[in-house]
């Protein structure tokens, strides 16, 4: 313990510091993420593994005439949406519940760190891992199953905003969901069935049009259905919009629904997040 010259501390604990520490924390979060082998396997590789399963089982083409695409192509947008859901909701919800349970958050709560700093760290980790996860999925789709990617800039611009908006929304919902499990041990039992169920009813694995109408209406309120629809608009021929419920891609509605859920996630996260389980 040296007695270094103590310059009178004039640290400002405002927004710039909160952001700077948050960006710094992204690296710390990523290091932890990639060292947790089981997590890398289940969250990171899951969409690619599911894609391999579906593209192997279901072969042949779907669609009419020149617009016909392989089943592998047909499944790609759904599994990208599934990956966004897994990375955004399942990853943070399980991690935060575990970190609340093992005392990590309690310790952070005793340091001069804002919850916003912590959230930026999580959001950054989610973005980096989701980009890698989906890049891997797309590479496998192209290399193994010869999926043809869109070539026009407009489609990729659409991909970008749906990806970013969908992922931020899902991450905020994941943070909100993390306060539901009462212990770290029960977190996976609470979170995983919810995420799996949502994938099945949102057109990730099963074509949305195959669901009964009441289930379509229910799932139509959830964000994943809209992310999947947006991704189909990127990767499938334009004529496929006829198969959507309204007969069009509804890009404006997609943006509205996602922004609505983003607001919901933000409000719930802000209201429910605690460094510790507290009762007054």
């Amino acid at each position: 313990m040296n007695a270094t010259t103590m310059t009178p501390a004039t640290t400002h604990f405002g927004v710039p510091r909160t952001l700077r520490l948050g960006f710094r924390r992204i690296g710390f979060e990523l290091r932890q993420y990639f060292r947790a082998g089981d997590q890398v396997f289940f969250t990171f590789l899951f969409p690619t593994l599911m894609f391999l399963v579906f593209a192997t089982i279901f072969t042949g083409d779907i669609g009419e005439g020149p617009d016909a695409v392989s089943m592998a192509t047909y499944y790609l947008p759904g599994l990208i949406a599934g990956g966004i859901l897994l990375s955004g909701v399942q990853g943070p919800a399980l991690e935060i519940a575990a970190e609340k349970s093992d005392g990590t958050l309690k310790r952070l709560g005793g340091t001069p760190v804002s919850p916003v700093t912590y959230f930026i760290g999580k959001l950054g980790q989610v973005f980096v891992t989701a980009i890698l996860q989906i890049a891997l999925l797309i590479v496998v789709a192209v290399v193994v199953y010869g999926v043809v990617l869109p070539t026009d800039a407009a489609a990729w611009a659409r991909f970008a905003w749906i990806f970013v908006l969908g992922l931020v929304t899902c991450t905020l919902l994941g943070i909100a969901l993390s306060s539901v499990p009462r212990t770290g041990k029960s977190a996976s039992a609470v979170v995983i069935p919810i995420v799996l169920l949502i994938q099945f009813i949102s057109g990730v694995y099963i074509a949305f049009a195959m669901l009964p109408e009441w289930l379509q209406n229910a799932a139509g309120m959830l964000p994943v259905k809209w992310i999947a629809q947006g991704m189909r608009s990127v990767f499938l021929p334009d004529s496929f919009k006829a198969a959507e419920v309204s007969g069009s891609w509804d890009l404006g509605l997609i943006a509205l629904v996602l922004i609505g859920w983003l607001a919901v996630g933000l409000v719930i996260s802000r209201l429910t997040f605690r460094w510790i389980h507290r009762n007054g």
Binding site: M1, A3, R35, A98, D102
Partner: protein
Amino acid sequence: MTESSDRPLPGLLGLGQPGTMTENVIEVRDLRKTYGSFTAVDGISFEIRRGETFALLGPNGAGKSTTIEILEGYRHRTSGDLRVLGVDPQRGGLDWKARLGIVLQSSGEAGNVTVRELLTEFAGYYPRPRDVDEVVASVGLEEKQRTRVGKLSGGQQRRLDVALGIIGRPELLFLDEPTTGFDPEARRQFWGLINTLKAEGTSILLTTHYLDEAAQLGDRAAVIAGGQIAAIGRVDEIGGPDARTPVVRWTDSDGTAHEQRTDAPGAVVANLFRAAGEPRGLEVVRPTLEDIYLTLIRERSAAEAAHGSEAPASESSDARGSTRTADVVAAISEEL
């Protein structure tokens, strides 16, 4: 709690101006915390002066951890007035937290970063952190700094907890049972570290079950039992002069054991020797802090038993009926 957070408590301070060496770093007045019908903390008052090491002693469930967690800002009080570094902990912002060091009773951290990585990350949160190498050395983890946290032994993990508590160069350090799981050598090393921190002027609030540790490190101590302060004072004075009266013990020629409390043990021994030669099994014992503590706790339990169930709840309350027990269990498990 409507008063502004930077005003000293009226009638409690009076020891000096903020910034001087006699300023109080902690002021607690009539602190209470209840969970349902269970009273965990039942009106305690004390203060800790700048630079002082204050030991909070008491049996499990006496209210020590609840008190310390209220002071750290983790829990909200039911009533009473508090100032920690001049701030109400319920309103303490990041600038306030930057001046604190907290070693919680339970450690815990996702285990896949190394000791060094975790300390470096935490150092970045503070305006004037200590040097990571120095902190690693001061807790004796040089050999383990590239080891992942999850691979550390219990005692090593506890040393890391202490390291994380001091990395931010705190003015006020909370140590909640810091040496649990330490081997004797690590404990001695820890005492050395605390003495260094004291020499630098760090104020320390310590809870421990090791009374020799409290005697070694503490300037003043309070014994909490049943959510109330049973005794408070300088470590070498707590319990009053009577509790410190030396005891002479010996065995006479019939094999009967004798014990005599006396302020003049030398005279007693001299008389014994003159009367019957060298006494067998002669001992002159000065009560340790542990003896005094145990006497205090016993007296208190006896008093509570005599007063029936009016006394504030403590661990013994689980004998008082099942509804009460449920509250206690809820409160204790919440404390864990």
